[in-house]
């Protein structure tokens, strides 16, 4: 066989893709997905507004860097495929295997093994690894185990989409936001994969938590010749929240207002509409949220103190800054996504009266199993010994949808709660007293288990009628509810090395009712840590379309020494949509951490950085202008 290869010029990053608009990179063209959101009419506003501010912001690829690399074990024959491995979404893997092997779902079994972190990185790629391992197992007639080493994992698996956002905002004399125009761009890589949905979430968060009558969002995902980018906690929103927050910080400087003050004048209120025309039905107190963050962090005093200290700082004195970001995160799938998924989850009562939670949502460290057990115990009125959580196994649990989009507690937890309430009602019908204590409920469960052993209580998700979404025109209720947050970062920059040390971090949020305070705080702290990495450290270096620094000695994530004591504070408004008023939490902290850090850098440096990660190489020249002239 003779193969002739002709190397063609490749498109290797977003800037090149946007500049060249090459049609030959992907069958769909240079742009593989475009979304437009329109509200009001910004055009006439630009000429009459007192202030118009323009900005451009870029973010790099970010690697999920779960500490356990991807791995899968497969068994396969002509009539079956079974896999077990490190994964977030068992039914996604089953779907992929069915398509490749031409088998019905009953013959393809996927079992989640104990999984060492995911953060979106094990949403999509485990399907690829499962297919590879299963094909090899079929050929070999033996079980096959494939475990990526770190270099393989970093080279092959999808990362957060690099982004480039060009934006413009108009303000009146008092700093009220009149019009907003956002041109949001993501680097899709060489294949489409999850890019359209990542782009969608990015576009839907592009206007931030601000009231504005005239909005245009144009969101495009560009094809390049790099490995495809994919899901990473936040899913497009960290990139667009960074852009709107950078724009507001620039506007505050231009208008001569404190960045916090500018935000306080423009926050969404209950009854306002978002860029998609969604009416904010829920109770929102963003002013209270922001004021709480400012007070807990001592923002106003620090702001004044650092301004004074930086003005007289000697060449070797640290420069300090404090910065605020205000943001939101839509919980659950976008638009009609949850309706299409129609997730199922529930309970099984065994012959001994032990209740097992049946859900395909995976425990990947975030606490899904604990929260499901807790919700079930609460609704049934029993102690935890009486409730277990089944291992996600497609042969045993119903399809609860994927473990993504901050939906596990809110959506699937809601189904589990409903199933538990139905079981409780059945016990009451059996004669259980309405005010029975946990021991009495346990007795009733044992009794019912003896006669009805194996009975299942499965609930299906039904979207409420008031959620109306027009996918065609991007109008209506993008998410059934939003989580809200205000974060403050305080940091110091070493003028000799350009290193930034985040000294304090205050994270205030409203995620509705907090189901489990310990786990919820853990989600915020861990998310802020990843956000600080995104802002200051984590830099995927590309070389001819490959990740050049695919090792832990060259791709740097925060250690215990790089992070401050992150303070998570919850303002509970039990207006959420999930069990007992809960909202989603997992992704929220990724949206606002980097903009808070960059805002603090603005003050420390007296200059703006428009790209994350903000590395010492970019920071140092800003601190020593004379060095650039030397």
């Amino acid at each position: 066989m003779r193969v002739e290869l002709e190397p063609l010029p490749a498109v290797l990053d977003l800037r090149q893709a946007m500049a060249e608009e090459r049609a030959d990179v992907h069958p769909l063209g240079p742009v593989v997905k475009e979304i437009r959101i329109a509200k009001g009419d910004p055009e006439p506003v630009w000429s009459r507004a007192a202030h118009v501010v323009e900005d451009e912001v870029e973010s790099g690829a970010q690697e999920q860097l779960y500490i356990e690399p991807q791995g899968m074990i497969a068994w396969a024959g002509p009539e079956f495929v079974t896999v077990t491995g490190s994964l977030q979404c068992p039914y996604y893997v089953q779907h992929g295997l069915c398509a490749v092997f031409g088998l019905p779902a009953e013959q393809v079994r996927v079992i989640q093994a104990v999984t060492g972190g995911g953060f979106g990185g094990k949403e999509e790629y485990p399907t690829v690894l499962a297919v590879h391992a299963a094909l090899l197992a079929l050929k070999a007639g033996r079980p096959v185990k494939m475990v990526y080493d770190r270099a393989e994992d970093l080279a092959a698996t999808p990362k957060r989409h690099p982004s480039r956002t060009l934006s413009r905002a108009a303000f009146d004399h008092d700093g009220r936001l009149l019009a907003l125009d956002v041109d949001f761009n993501l680097d899709a890589g060489a294949y489409v994969t999850l890019t359209p949905v990542v782009l969608s979430r990015g576009a839907l968060h592009a206007a931030g938590p601000y009231r504005c009558d005239h909005v245009r969002v144009r969101a495009r995902a560009w094809a390049t010749n790099t490995p495809p980018h994919g899901a990473f906690r936040g899913f497009g929103a960290p990139q667009s929240c960074l852009a709107i927050e950078r724009l507001l910080d620039k506007a505050a400087a231009q208008l001569g207002l404190d960045p916090a003050e500018l935000r306080l004048r423009n926050l969404l209120q209950s009854g306002d509409t978002t860029a998609t025309g969604q009416v904010m039905r829920e109770e929102i107190d963003l002013t209270g949220l922001v004021e709480t963050a400012l007070e807990l962090s001592d923002y106003r005093c620090l702001r004044a103190e650092f301004a004074r200290a930086n003005a007289v700082a000697g060449p070797e004195d640290p420069r300090r800054g404090v910065g605020l970001a205000v943001f939101l995160h839509g919980a659950g799938f976008t638009g009609s996504g949850e309706k299409r998924l129609a997730s199922r989850a529930g309970l099984e009562l065994d012959g001994q009266g032990v209740v097992q939670v049946l859900a395909a949502s995976t425990e990947i460290g975030q606490g899904a199993a604990t929260v499901f057990q807790q919700i079930t115990c609460g609704a049934l009125g029993v102690t935890h010994e009486q409730v277990r959580v089944a291992q996600p196994d497609t042969a045993h649990v119903p399809d609860s949808g994927p473990t993504v989009a901050s939906r596990t507690t809110m959506v699937v937890g809601g189904l589990v709660e409903r199933a538990a309430l139905a079981l409780r009602a059945a016990l009451v019908a059996d004669g259980l007293a309405a005010d029975a204590d946990p021991a009495a409920v346990a007795r009733a469960l044992r009794e019912r288990g003896r006669s009805h052993g194996g009975e299942r209580w499965i609930e299906s998700y039904q979207q409420p009628d008031w959620v109306v979404w027009d996918e065609e025109n991007y109008r209506g209720d993008a998410y059934p509810t939003f989580a809200w947050a205000a974060y403050v970062a305080q940091l110091a920059v070493d003028p000799l090395t350009g290193e930034t040390r985040v000294e304090e971090f205050t994270a205030v949020q409203d995620i509705g009712r907090v189901v489990n305070p310990l786990l919820a705080a853990g989600q915020i702290e861990g998310g802020v840590a990843q956000g600080i990495g995104f802002a200051l450290l984590e830099d995927v270096r590309w070389q001819a379309g490959r990740m050049a620094n695919n090792r832990l000695s060259t791709y740097i994530i925060p250690t215990a020494l790089d992070l401050p004591r992150i303070r998570a504070h919850f303002r509970e408004t039990p207006a959420g949509y999930g069990p007992a008023g809960a909202k989603g939490v997992g992704e929220l902290p990724l949206d606002g951490t980097a903009p808070a850090v960059l805002a603090a850098l603005d003050q420390a440096l007296g200059a703006r950085l428009a790209r994350v990660p903000a590395l010492p190489e970019q920071i140092l020249p800003l601190l020593t202008p004379e060095a650039t002239h030397a």
Partner: protein, 164 residues
């Protein structure tokens, strides 16, 4: 084919004779014995998930040749329950949210236990320094540090007679 070499070690409190190949990593030897609490996160000594105690010293077992363990006392997370400091750290991690996905936890617990053996009442900065070689992607380290502080408090000040 290289000839297997016999090592004599004390592994998690038991004297053992183990067969290894020259060039075999201590990490692979231990996992091959079913001690899968020893995790491989990077294979180059950056993440600390494969940490074990070798003669009481914290080492990354991916960077240690199995041969170097000949004659040594080895402690992996599987043996932590027998050790006063390590058991206290384990309990504190479980109670205080020091664990999320759990992959870094064996190394974290061993690193924290090794710290508490040499410094019974460490300050937060000292704890952060001692754990800086153990990467965690889930927790942001807040509850990890709190767990170590809690374990130190539970263990109390060092026994003065033991110091002599």
């Amino acid at each position: 084919m290289p000839e297997p070499v016999v090592l004599r070690v004390t592994l998690n409190g038991e004297p053992r004779e183990l067969s290894c190949l020259p060039g075999e990593r201590l990490l692979d030897l231990l996992r091959g014995l079913g001690l899968t609490g020893v995790k491989e996160g990077c294979g180059e000594g950056e993440c600390g998930a494969c940490a074990v105690l070798l003669d009481g010293r914290l080492v990354n077992s991916c960077l240690v040749s199995a041969l170097q363990a000949d004659g040594a006392t080895l402690l992996t997370i599987e043996g932590a329950g027998q050790d006063r400091e390590l058991a206290a750290v384990q309990a504190a991690f479980a109670e205080r949210g020091g664990v999320q996905c759990g992959i870094c936890t064996p190394g974290m617990v061993l690193a924290a236990g090794a710290l508490l053996k040499r410094s019974a009442q460490p300050a937060e900065e000292e704890i952060r320094r001692a754990l800086a070689g153990n990467l965690c992607r889930c927790t942001g380290y807040v509850r990890v540090v709190d767990s170590v502080l809690a374990a130190a408090e539970r263990l109390g000040p060092p026994d003065p007679s033991a110091q002599e």
